[in-house]
């Protein structure tokens, strides 16, 4: 944007973490024009990671989740339109049509439409006590069932499912986790780490079953039992379906923009239309670090890509080249992961999988490409740096707890 920036309008579709971060970064970088943030939820931008953790357990209030409360939005002169869907983009006239009939003119448009929870394809999945977990509203609805002595059936042994299981156990509930694959966290880690988490949950009292097939929901209007392929019948006061997310790409698709597992963007987070960018869970970017296209579902991705979009909008194009990291809080344990371990040829363990603190390092051709750590924050932080450097590391040093990982870094790092 040039000298006329003060009269420009940037419209951001999606008031989640990517949209909120883009808006706030535009102001931090000195953009003086109009910013309009359109959200389908009525809430101002809020932090989603605590939803399945502190917010569900009741230790975080709704207010504390807000990144930009109304006063902050006002101060930053960000116009927020909540509770409204963006229906259609008219690229020829550069207009965005909203579900309430409003039409917004834009100079630049940012698609931060996020994703939605994948819905179970099973009759009964629409019943009122079967929940997804994506929003404040989802947790509020679910929480009325999260009471001491009630039974929770959690479908999906991923991060969301296991985090909710941990909270539900702490709340005194009877918890069953059902995973279709042979192990939990199969999409994100190795069997050894999956086994560790399965043990932790079973020790905490979770009835965790892997390799199961769910055949039916019984009970109307509310589901009362979940039936499995092996004939078992599990009582349920509520059911959480934590089976992944689907990116919201329809708006881009209807506008004729390329979509392939997300909205296709270039290394600067631009779509093929020079006036339309995309960021966050909905965007599929070429990742130079991994040499392939990635669509990441993480808060780090939402925020860092949001900042890259803001820079690009202001004519300071930056290449988005992130080394992904993720985390999960379960009971008193913190799992921290950096990099993508797919394709590793050697795993090295530091610490003891039977203890509650260990690190699993993943190497490929001698280089550290990823690490999963539990209760070892130093190892996580230094692994982050080593992975980013594509460092060649000595497996024996990695395995030796007596040698701090820090010592593997060049002095300046």
């Amino acid at each position: 944007m040039s000298e006329s920036a003060a009269t420009q309008t940037i419209v951001i579709v999606g008031a989640g973490q990517a949209g909120g971060e883009t808006a706030s970064e535009l102001r931090k970088q000195g953009f003086t024009g109009r910013i309009v943030l359109v959200g389908e939820e009525t809430h101002v931008p809020y932090r989603r990671p605590p939803l399945s953790k502190a917010y569900l357990s009741g230790t975080a209030t709704e207010e504390s989740l807000y990144i930009l409360p109304p006063a902050g939005l006002e101060k930053a002169r960000i116009e927020f339109i909540g509770g409204v869907r963006a229906e259609r983009i008219d690229r020829a006239t550069k207009q965005l049509h909203l579900s309430d009939g409003r039409v917004l003119d834009y100079d630049k448009l940012v698609l931060a439409t996020g994703g939605r929870a994948r819905v179970l394809s099973l009759p009964g999945a629409e019943r009122a006590n079967v929940f997804p977990l994506r929003s404040i509203a989802d947790v509020q609805a679910m929480r009325t069932h999260c009471l001491d002595g009630k039974s929770a059936v959690i479908i999906g042994g991923g991060f969301i499912g296991l985090e909710v299981a941990a909270v539900a156990i702490k709340l005194g509930m009877k918890v069953t986790v059902l995973e279709g694959l042979p192990r939990v966290l199969a999409r994100v880690t190795v069997p050894e780490v999956s086994t560790f988490f399965e043990r932790i949950h079973r020790e905490a009292g979770v009835d965790l079953r892997t390799g199961v097939q769910i055949t039916a929901f019984e009970g109307e209007p509310l589901v009362t039992h979940v039936l499995l392929g092996d004939g078992s019948r599990i009582a349920a006061d509520f059911i959480l379906a934590g089976i992944g997310q689907v990116p919201n790409v329809e708006l881009a698709q209807q506008a004729g923009l390329a979509v392939d597992n997300g909205i296709v963007v270039d290394e600067y987070s631009r779509t093929a239309d020079p006036d339309i960018y995309a960021a966050g869970d909905c965007a599929n970017h070429p990742n130079e670090f991994y040499g392939c296209r990635l669509r990441l579902e993480s808060v780090q991705n939402a925020m860092e890509q949001g900042r890259v979009v803001a820079a690009g909008l202001l004519g300071k194009a930056q290449v988005y080249n992130v080394v992904p990291w993720f985390w999960s809080d379960q009971y008193d344990l913190k799992l921290q992961m950096v990099g993508l371990s797919a394709g590793f040829d050697r795993m090295v363990l530091r610490g003891d999988l039977n203890a509650r603190a260990f690190a699993a390092f993943y190497l490929k051709d001698g280089r550290l490409i990823a690490a999963d750590t539990v209760g070892r924050p130093q190892d996580f932080m230094f692994a982050k740096k080593l992975v980013a450097m594509r460092a060649v590391v000595d497996p024996q040093v990695l395995a030796d707890e007596a040698v701090p990982l820090k010592s593997l870094l060049p002095a300046a790092a």
Binding site: R27, V299, Q378, M381
Partner: protein
């Protein structure tokens, strides 16, 4: 409401009113203080809210737990007065708190 001062490395001060019950990180992000990001939302997992606490204040705060200490080791330019601002709660006792933002985070 207590007042907190955030100092940029060049000395520029952001003096803000802090809402009780929030964390110092949340106060910073809600007031667009640069260099404090709070990517993980305040659960001691990313170290992007790292600050140096004013020397007079450091000993008056509750000390960092093991997890926070571990994260701080790998933070940007850590020092003896380093803390993660998400782990410092806003209470009346921190009226006048002064923290500095590490240059490497800007």
């Amino acid at each position: 409401m207590p007042t907190i001062t955030f100092l940029e490395p060049d000395g520029k001060a952001h003096v803000v009113e802090a809402q009780l019950g929030l964390s110092v990180m949340e106060v910073a992000t809600r007031n667009d203080v640069p260099g404090i990001i709070g990517e993980c939302g305040g659960c001691c997992t990313c170290a992007t809210c790292h600050v140096y606490v004013d020397a007079d204040w450091y000993g008056r705060l509750e000390s960092a737990d093991e997890m926070e200490q571990g994260m701080l080791e790998g933070a940007v330019e850590p020092g003896p007065l380093s803390r993660l601002s998400c782990q410092i709660k806003v209470t009346d006792a921190i009226e006048g708190l002064v923290v500095s933002i590490p240059a490497g985070q800007l």
